[in-house]
Amino acid sequence: MGEVSNEKKKELFTLLLKTRRLEEKLIELMTTGEVAGWFHSNLGQEAVGVGVTAYLEPEDYINNTHRGRAIIIGKRVPLKRFMAEALGRKNGPCEGISGEMHYFDLKYGILGQSGTLGGQIPVAVGVALACQYRKSDQVVICIFGDGTVDEGNFHESLNIASLWKLPIVFVVENNGWAQFTPQKATASQVDIWRKAEGYNMLGKVVDGTDILEVYEVAREAIARARKGDGPTLIECKVRRWEGHYIGDPQKYRDPKDIEEARRVDPLSKFQKRLMDEKILTLESMNELDESVKREIEEAIQFAKSSPVASREQAFQNVYV
């Protein structure tokens, strides 16, 4: 593993912490009904989204997913901006008509998602094609879950991305579940990275709860992609702490599995490490936590004081 500077580690930690606190807050808002629709928590999986985006350039792209807050934080979207959208406010980047699940924010390179799993994969490949065509030096990360791998769009897109040596990195967040069904009930091959050879592509697998591991593999893959050496398929093994969505009673799941999953915490793991390495102290940790919480609170206040998306907006932007 290459050397990651202490500064970078601290930055990664801040992003990870911010993701965690934001998620906790969103769950609260969800439960009180202030966020509409379904909410899919990324608790326990944050290290993947943060690790793969943390050192992307601002111009680089990544698609959103239904568990996408880690990538939004990693892409340095200001919390106020994100929160306004999540609460359906006019000053979100989608003017409040799309919310967090379909969060689309081109200014920060976030490509959104249509809502049909797998549909975002060829779209991301197309963005990479445009980057290559314009020799823009940009890179695209295409991220999705293990269940989404079984969609035809995965197959069609990986073949093309590899064939054309596009500047794209495929990241699979393998949490072993798709909704309420375990991976072993739906996947013939549970080691997803092994599919890479079928596309003559480099395949990698990492512990997705170790942010440095994720970061390191992503860094290499991004560099390869940027150099024109083509895509990599990175499988990140993670654990899902919550149900599929907040409110899911998880009757289908062995309580032991939940317990075990929750014991694997990417945040406290990284925290311990940084404290061991004396990069963080309990004091600086607490300070950081306070400031993150404050930032989130401010974002919520900002969002709540902003106007709700209006009827008229529903009729705009259907056609150019």
């Binding site: 919310g99 699940m101 269940g147 069904t181 009757k251 998306a309 529903a314 009729f315």
Partner: protein
């Protein structure tokens, strides 16, 4: 009679048909171990086992195609495509395989598959989980299209759909907790038969699916103002029960068609066009159609409500049509 929810009615229909005929299998994402995304298949895995209640990967095209293959070899698969929006991924299997198998083989096989799918909006599910796309399927010869509104209808029609020898798009709506009465004993309802849910003499309102409920409450309000609408709940779109529409239109002379799908190129157009073709001389007012605005369906209550048809739209269309004729006469 007993009162049950819409989703429970679906569950009962599946359970009864699974028990009745061991060629019936249920397949789809999360239909098995977990009992389904919305409990429609609750308890079936335990009762009928993994060979008959089959969890699939997230592979809509293959789910639909596999169901067709199983159907032409003697099974009666009920394949769930979780949301109607996702049928977009399965169109080839549905349109180019299921619908044409019997025809292309000159009757050597049949493809008795039921594609269950959840349509409609109104729950802040956003543009990719809220569409009503029934008119696509109504344009495909070989398919039947069913979209029941009430627990009574959904149970009786799902049972009949499973027994039917044709491929069927069976649309369920998101008002899954809607309650209604059904008989204690077993029953089925015939496909292709509309139901006059309310008799009236002033205006015929043809509707189906989720929007039926808004039409029903509109009817109450209109009645208070002395306007009596006749509500025809189509239940089955293909084959279309023109007879029931015909006799109502002959009586009222006025027709409103109300569906939740986007109005342009929706199935309401087909009904309007058919009525004009065959009942032109009975109409004494233009036909009015109500449907969603020509936009995707945004997330969030305010914007979503702005786009989807509401009670007020139904009421004003009915009043318009009544008034416009009064003015003329």
């Amino acid at each position: 009679m007993k009162e049950i929810t819409y989703v429970k009615a679906i569950n009962e229909a599946l359970r009864e048909e699974l028990a009745r005929d061991d060629s019936v299998i249920v397949m789809g994402e999360d239909v098995g171990i977990s009992g389904g995304s919305f409990n429609a298949t609750k308890g079936l895995f335990e009762a009928f086992g993994s060979k008959r209640i089959i969890d699939t990967p997230i592979s809509e095209s293959a789910i639909a195609g596999i169901a067709v293959g199983a159907a032409i070899s003697g099974l009666r698969p009920v394949a769930e495509i979780m949301f109607m929006d996702f049928t977009a991924l399965a169109m080839d299997s549905i349109v180019n395989s299921a619908a044409k198998m019997r025809y292309m083989s000159a009757g050597q096989c049949k493809a008795p598959v039921v594609f269950r799918t959840l349509g409609g909006g109104g729950v802040s599910a956003g543009p990719g989980h809220s569409q009503s796309l029934e008119s696509w399927f109504c344009h495909v010869p070989g398919l039947k299209v069913v979209y029941p509104s009430t627990p009574y209808d959904v149970k009786g029609l799902l049972k009949s759909s499973i027994r039917d020898d044709n491929p069927i798009i069976f649309i369920e709506h998101k008002f899954l907790r809607a309650k209604g009465e059904i008989p204690e004993e077993e029953y089925t309802l015939p496909l292709g038969q509309a139901d006059v849910k309310r008799e009236g003499s002033d205006v015929t309102v043809v509707t189906w699916g989720q929007l039926f409920f808004k039409v029903a409450t509109s009817a109450e309000k209109l009645a208070r103002e002395g306007i009596n609408i006749e509500i025809i709940d189509l239940r089955t779109l293909i084959p279309l029960d023109m007879k029931t529409i015909e006799s109502s239109v002959k009586k009222t002379g006025k027709l409103v068609i109300a569906h939740e799908a986007v109005k342009i190129s929706g199935f309401g157009a087909e009904i309007a066009a058919s009525v004009v073709e065959h009942l032109f001389d009975y109409l004494d007012a233009p036909i009015r159609r109500i449907g969603a605005a020509f936009t995707p369906i945004p997330w969030g209550t305010v914007v979503e409500n702005a786009v989807l048809p509401q009670e007020a739209d139904i009421i004003s269309a009915v009043k318009d049509i009544v008034r416009s004729r009064q003015a003329k006469n």
